[in-house]
């Protein structure tokens, strides 16, 4: 739930699930904004007819970086004040207009360093309970 409390203190431990971040329905209008952000006018993000013509379904396809941004937003909410150090992701499947998506993850490593905590996480994004659209690992620093 997006209202879940962020992780602090002793809750930042190996094995702890990151509070998930959900979008009830990916808005096709948002894809038009992302097409402008990315300067990418590919019609599969803008026109369902273009998606149909390519045999990829009948709904517009969300931009991969937008899907990744849901994961990063989840990390920011789960660990307030943290700084993203590195990220490694694989784009495994498409997210379509109207899909419900949920970004989540799990803490896999916590190390105390001079500058604070170094937190490793598995991360993922699922759409409509299908197999993950994105999987990967993130490392964050928490001063």
């Amino acid at each position: 739930m997006n209202g879940a409390a962020p992780l602090t203190g002793a809750a930042i431990a190996v094995g702890t699930d990151l509070p998930p971040y959900s979008i009830a329905a990916v808005d096709p209008e948002s894809m038009k904004l992302w097409a402008a952000f990315l300067r990418d006018p590919n019609p599969i993000h803008l026109d369902p007819r273009a998606v149909q013509a390519k045999g990829l379904g009948d709904k517009v396809i969300n931009q991969g970086p937008a899907n990744l941004a849901y994961i990063i937003t989840m990390l920011q909410r789960a660990l307030p004040g943290s700084i993203l150090v590195s990220l490694e992701v694989r784009y495994a499947a498409s997210v379509f207009g109207g899909d419900a998506v949920e970004a989540g993850g799990k803490i896999t490593e916590v190390a105390r360093e001079a500058s604070g905590l170094r937190i490793g996480c598995e991360v993922w994004l699922r759409a409509n309970d299908r197999d993950p659209a994105i999987t990967g690992q993130a490392v964050l620093g928490l001063p």
Partner: protein, 150 residues
Amino acid sequence: MTAAELPPAPSVAGTSLAGAAPYVITAEENRTLCASLGSVAAADGTAHPIYFFIATQVGMGRSVAGLCALCDFDVEEGPMIASSTVTFNRTLMTGQPYWVTGEIKSLVRKRSRSLGVMDVLEYALRLSLPDGGMVLETVNVWVLPRRSLA
């Protein structure tokens, strides 16, 4: 046609992807982007970290179609992003000019069971401050399906 009989992928490794002008994350666009994610932009000028992808991709001065064209691939054939990695040295800020440098690392022709013949494009992009200070480095991998060779 076996994998060994396929014509080679275009020789593009080492091609520069340096931008011709700095990229600036505007506060207004950052606000709009954060709102599109159901979030609120930071008040201290910190930009959403997804700008690692946007700033490098836009700032290199080549569109996705242009990058595909370098690889002798028509963007209408449907390139697919496969993976991204990024390592940050500094936090991204709005209003800050960033320069993009980078290069194509490889373009490798393969045959896959699901996609048939495809080229796997890997390229690295770096974002730097005007004084040369490194901000981040990212590596993206795209799959370019070569249906005409299937």
